[in-house]
Subunit: 349 residues, 4 copies
């Protein structure tokens, strides 16, 4: 950690900072420049309290050198991490390293028949994990909020029948136990990325967690949220870039494609992209999905509907079956250019 | 609601949209322009499903005309709303309309002595509501997370002794009952603004809720979150602007000062500003607090510490007692220019 | 254009709006809803003054239906546009439709030898257009500002010798004539995207213009800037997405990858991506370049240096020769998946 | 400057960085931590090439310690700067330190009669400098572009007659000489804040320059643009905060109110706010103007029109005369709270 003093900081202020650094177990190294004194604190950075040092008299700013996360860091875990979803009645799907794949299904589970129909469509096109919302986060209290446990049951039996692991969103700490009984993987939505109690609760389970990036979260914030889960002992975190909030208003959010290589450099955790929620309009979804794979993502999560105008939720962004199928072929080719194998139902059996 | 068709939309697509509008109970009005057909849906907009219409063939975009929130809207409640915090052992403090006030205290409640000391300082300077964190949302799992129920007890007894209502943050649906037993007002933090289950739970209580704006939330999103609380029957919502996430990195967040007059035009709900979390550095807090009052806010929430370098949380942004006192005088004068009365302990007795 | 009236707008205000619409040559269509009157103006939207209508009493908002640009619009020009760079002493390179290619070279032209060396490297790897800065826009007045006309001469003779068209930045209306004498294509930098006088001046020439997107420009703003050039009779506009300014600070800017399919839907103009300036760090450049091609771009513009630590400008983002060569192979493969032919020096001869 | 090495940087890489620091005339100070080596470069930071160091092998990041601007810095000029506008036929108006004031007038100068009428209105309400656009930057090439030199003549004769200095926008290097002959102060618009040639040209004159902040410019970028002007010998720079581009779309831009105290801490240059362009809608302009003064600004620039619906440009944001007059009274009272004197025509005579 580096402490930059004000140009006019008194010697007593410099001494105080040095003393505090020693008190915290590190060693201060002073560099007196022409106009400023800079103090390096050498030692275990985690033991240093950045806020405390920034609050001392005469301090202009404090610059941390180490990353604030550990378990999520590639420095801690040099090899690519590989997460497995599934097991038991359904095959295990690998994600990470050279293992790429896709998660697909409807936005919300509206009824059992539509779920089964869409699940077959996406499996036949090559998706290996089934998604579907049982509890839906909606910006308006007057919108459809999901079918809850009933939808979880439909998901489970559909996944078992088709041999697809399932993934569904958890929104509230009180739902964790219930959802854990049914699902193969939890999804944490963008708006809950810093719902720290929820992160801790899913961290206590041993089911993989798909952690969507918050709309205003930096890559660092996002990795710190992963750290919450990892620190509880759950190592199955999959990062999901789904667009950030910017001034551009043509699409709902702006896919931060550069975050894919940045995340892979900083962390060993697998990363996928969600073009559906980012775009909000199906026309642009295939292009953004392909961009994600070409940027190095380990997969995509995509919403599909055979009749989007009947969807109770986010119909405008759902891909039609034939477009999804064509896209899967393109994703497989792109993965191949970069030495990744793109899983499909056939690969798993 | 207005449906703009593609330039080359077929007549059958136009007919389908019109039929759907009628099916939902509204009347379609067609305007055929030189290059596009535009269909107005006249009737109860709440009954119209925007997503459904946007998903139909040939539709370029759907433009809603009505606001998506009702109870939070000034159209629904023309007079300024006035919320009361307190009652029982402590006086009631009014906020809204011509009633302005300040909420102050430490960021986190670290121990009982420091809480009592800071509470006296802020009350003597003119603050009427005491803030303090018992459960702390922290971006890192390794940071201090608050003293929980013990801190709530200290808060309650301190508030009762000094005659100050108290306000503290709730982060998890499972904490609502516990916190309700102690506090006079709930605070919902920025990162939980779209934790919809939490909004619903505090909406079921009858204690006022200070709803901080999310870091990536538009004013519309923020009012929809207020609507979640209001729709459960709790009418005591106070909006708190605390800065949004932008590219500017000198301060932690950018205080969106324009949101104050915009919110007051759209809604009857009282609005305050939080300059402490927005700035992240005490040097700029008084200027931003004064800006908030001059923009028409009904008050401020400010963190104060007698020795910020000892604070366990957010020390760099805590105001020193003498600076807070001077600021309170300035805020009172600014409130006076705009015909508002700024409450202090004397006014309440 | 649609005019939404306030809920309590007087009949006289509605009449005034209708009269103004008629005065401007369009027809007003009234829809009286339960709480609001909405007036559609049917006719030539370009003839309607949105600001004027928005200023009238009782108007809540004005919603335009048509795009504000014409010549840049796909409605005006349905087929993909194809722009040619070069001619005379150098071959012509096509860009747009199924024609993809890459522009590469140093950030700034530092001396003739380094330019010649880098030009050979990028040509041998498959780049077809040579880039290089003679006049450099720098945020600090104390940074290297470019070698001016001398650098233009080196560029011209290098391009002629290697058979590569050249592209260089113009920053000031007073430089247009000078640069036109040397270059095959103009580049307008992000900070000048709304330097309207400059847009008009390059619009008067008949050399292609690479128009970089401004850091705070929406896709609509960007197309309106293209319209400035097109409206002067120059149809050779190539759009270049180079990242927008957002809160994320790992990379210098955030590549808005979704803008690629959006732009292609709205406009016939070719679009390329600039991963070098967006990333600011070479580690992430190949991933973002590949993402751009996979999203549908017609090419990339990339900075290359054989010894980045000696570069006088933007060394950290320059690709090393062997990385650039590998990347070109990947881009060619991605282009192939989407039916595009990726030009190289061999193709042109 | 501080150079943070990668965790696994070789000794040879560390030696190379040290040698380069010495070659540039500074001294390297090594701190070897548990996982990283950090090298401080002590000496004249301006002599160090950050990009060069960042490009060397094994370097993770380079952290500058000094500000990149000098003449714009409060470290260089500790006292508040005071800029004078006017002289010759018109009185001089001071801005900066305890001198506050307002600039007002129409957006565009549409004809001589309207200019004279509005000038009288704003002068009688207390404005001391007259604004008005002769050359207008418009996002669409089809919008009204201003009356050019004729408008400058009307401005000059109106200012002379009423005893008001005038201020008008310059957009192109080729206009500098012409505008200098007429105006008392130049205005550089937000879209030209990084038009570096233009900054240099107005820097060569000795007329004050109102420098609006760019839509995507950090406070640091903005000060570097001021440095361009100052470095040419023109010390009369007035900074104007006019809102930045964010995701919030109710207002046109988001007034970054915190930038006012930040700028005053970093620089001695006077700062004013422009609520008209930021809001884009007159309803919110007075609140934002008052916020600016309460945050410590030295004044405001505001658009006024007696009949906004007839304005050829930005009518929706123009204040009505009686609202402007009331606002001026409020601004004067707020200035008084903070010990500033708010100039009016009477004060100047």
């Amino acid at each position: 950690m580096i402490i930059v003093m004000n140009p006019n900081a008194a010697q007593s202020a410099i001494d105080r900072v040095s003393a505090e650094i020693e008190r915290m177990g590190a060693k201060p190294h002073l560099s007196r420049g022409t106009s400023r004194t800079v103090i390096g604190a050498v030692g275990e950075e985690a033991a240093l309290d950045q806020n405390h040092l920034a609050s001392l008299d005469g301090v202009e700013k404090v610059v941390p050198i180490m990353k604030p996360y550990k378990l999520a860091s590639r420095e801690f875990h040099e090899e690519d991490g590989i997460v497995e979803i599934g097991g038991g009645n359904v095959p295990k799907v690998k994600i990470g390293g050279t293992h790429a794949m896709s998660i697909a299904g409807p936005c919300a589970v509206e009824d059992e028949a539509m779920l089964n129909k869409i699940a077959r469509i996406v499996r036949d096109a090559g998706a290996t994990v089934l998604r579907g919302g049982a509890f839906k986060p909606r910006t308006s209290p007057y919108s459809f909020q999901g079918h809850g446990e009933e939808a979880l049951k439909w998901m489970r039996s559909c996944g078992d029948e088709l041999g697809m692991p399932i993934c569904t969103e958890v929104m509230d700490t009180r739902q964790v136990d219930l959802i854990e009984r049914y699902t193969d993987a939890f999804q944490i939505g963008a708006r809950n990325m810093q719902n720290f109690d929820l992160l801790r609760e899913v961290g206590k389970t041993r089911k993989p967690v798909l952690l969507k990036r918050g709309l205003a979260a930096t890559v660092k914030d996002w990795l710190l949220s992963a750290e919450y889960i990892l620190s509880q002992g759950n190592r199955g975190v999959i990062m999901c870039e789904r667009g950030i909030k910017t001034f551009e208003d043509s699409a709902r959010y702006s896919m931060d494609i550069t975050s894919v290589p940045i995340l892979k450099q900083l962390s060993h955790l697998p990363v996928i992209v969600d073009p559906s929620h980012c775009c909000g309009k199906r026309d642009w979804v295939p292009a953004v999905a392909c961009a994600g794979m070409a940027a190095g993502a380990h997969g995509v999560i995509i919403e599909v509907h055979y009749c989007p105008s009947e969807a109770q939720c986010d119909g405008p962004q759902a891909l039609l079956p034939e477009v999804f199928k064509e896209l899967m072929g393109q994703l497989r080719q792109i993965a191949g250019i970069f030495g990744k194998e793109f899983a499909d139902a056939g690969t798993l059996v």
